[in-house]
Symmetry: C2
Subunit: 219 residues, 2 copies
Amino acid sequence: MDPSFPRPLVMVDTALFTILDERLCLLLTQRKEPPFERKLALPGGFVHVDEDADTEAAARRVVCGKIGFDAPYLEQLFTFSGATRDPRGWSVSVAYYALIPASLLDRSQTAEAFPVEALPALPFDHDRIVAKAIERLRGKATYSSLPAFLLPATFTMNELHRIYEQTIGVRLDKASFRHKILEQGIIDPVPSQFRIGAHRPAQLYRLANRVLTAFERKI
Amino acid sequence: MDPSFPRPLVMVDTALFTILDERLCLLLTQRKEPPFERKLALPGGFVHVDEDADTEAAARRVVCGKIGFDAPYLEQLFTFSGATRDPRGWSVSVAYYALIPASLLDRSQTAEAFPVEALPALPFDHDRIVAKAIERLRGKATYSSLPAFLLPATFTMNELHRIYEQTIGVRLDKASFRHKILEQGIIDPVPSQFRIGAHRPAQLYRLANRVLTAFERKI
DNA sequence: TGAATAGTGTCTTTAAGACACTATTCA
DNA sequence: TGAATAGTGTCTTAAAGACACTATTCA
C-alpha cells in the first residue's frame, strides 16, 4: 500500500506583510534551530502530519505562533523545491503570504518588521520567496481588493488610496481612484461614522466582502 | 541533522490542455497502479528525489512520459495537500498545468483527450485540480499571451481570435481583438507567409516572445 | 457570382487622467 | 485666516464595442 519512494522533507514558509510608517514591511523571525541558527528568516516550519489538516493549516499554525492571531488574509504563494535549497535534504516548501494590519501588531512584533527595500540577508531560498511574494502582491493589487486587507476593519478613502499607492508603487489620481473603487463596489460606507482630526471629518468605509474581490475586466 | 518528523508523500499531477475540434480538452491517462487502477486520471506520479532536480523537473518528466516531448508551456498551478486526499496517507501534490498544441499530438494521444465540459469522474481530488487549472487558464487568457501557446508556431489572426474566444468562453469583436493584440506587440507577422485555402490568404503570425507576456494595465 | 475568410474604417460609449475647484475642521 | 484633509466637477484623451464596409480567393 505504502509506496517505497524516499520522501522529501515538507515544510511551509510564510511571508507576512504589513505597512509601517507608510512603507511595506515583512515580519521576520529569529531562527532557534540549526541550520542558520539565530539568523533572521521567514517564519516557517515542518508540516506536522498528525496535527495539520493540510499545508494551509500548517501555515496558519506558523502565523499564529508568530503574531498570536489568525491572519485576516492568507493565500498560497508557490511551492519551492529541490535537492539543494535546504542543507538537510531534498525538500518541498509550500510558501504562503499573508497581510496583517499594523494596528493588530504589538510592539515586540513591529520590532521585527523590515521594509522590503531594506531586508537583511535571508537563509535558504527565502530571497526568492520574498521576491515572488512582492510580485504577487503588486500584481493582485492592480486588479483586486487585496491592499485593503493591510488596513484595519474601517478606514477612510484616503487611507485606502495611500495603501494602494504604497503596495503598487505608483501615484494614482485621487478622483479617478475614488471613482474606480466605488464603481467596483468593493467597499461600503459605514453609516454616520467619520474619522476626525485637525481637518474635515472623513467618511469611514469597510470591505463589502470578507474575501478577496477581483475587478471586472475583459481582454 | 535530519529532522525526525514523519514525512508526507510528495507527488506531482499535471493538467494537460489542448484544443480539439474548437473545444478545450484535457489529456487523461489510464492509471496502471492501485489505488484507482485502470481509472482515467490526470497524469502524475511521485517525485523521484534521486532523479528530479525539483518538482517542475518531475512534472516535465511526467508530461514527457505522456506525450513524448517537452511541453511548450508549463506552469506550476497550486499545491494540494492533506491527510485524506490520497488513501495511501498524508500527501502533497504539486499540480502543474501545460498547454499542448494539438498539431503536436499523435492519434493515440488525442484519443485520450476529453472536452472539459464532458470529463469522466476523476479519482483523488483531481476534480479540484481541474477546476483550478481551468480557472487559471481563463483568468490569464484575459490579460496575457497564454492562449497562443495552444497554437502551432505560426497561426493566423483568426485562429488566434478563435483560441482566445474558446479559452475565455466569450465572444470578442474581431476588429477590437486585432487592434488590442497588435497594440500589445505579443505577436509578429512572419514576412511573406500566408495561410491559403478556398478564400483570401491570411497573414501568418508567430509569438514575439517564447515566454508568457502579460498585457499592460494599471488599476 | 456567391461563399468564405481576411482585413479596415468609423461612430458611439465608456473609462482614465489631469487638474482645478469647493467643503469642513481646528489652531 | 490658513493649513490640512475631504470630496466633486469638468475637460481631454484613450480605449472598447458595435457594426458596416472593402478585399481576395476558389468553386
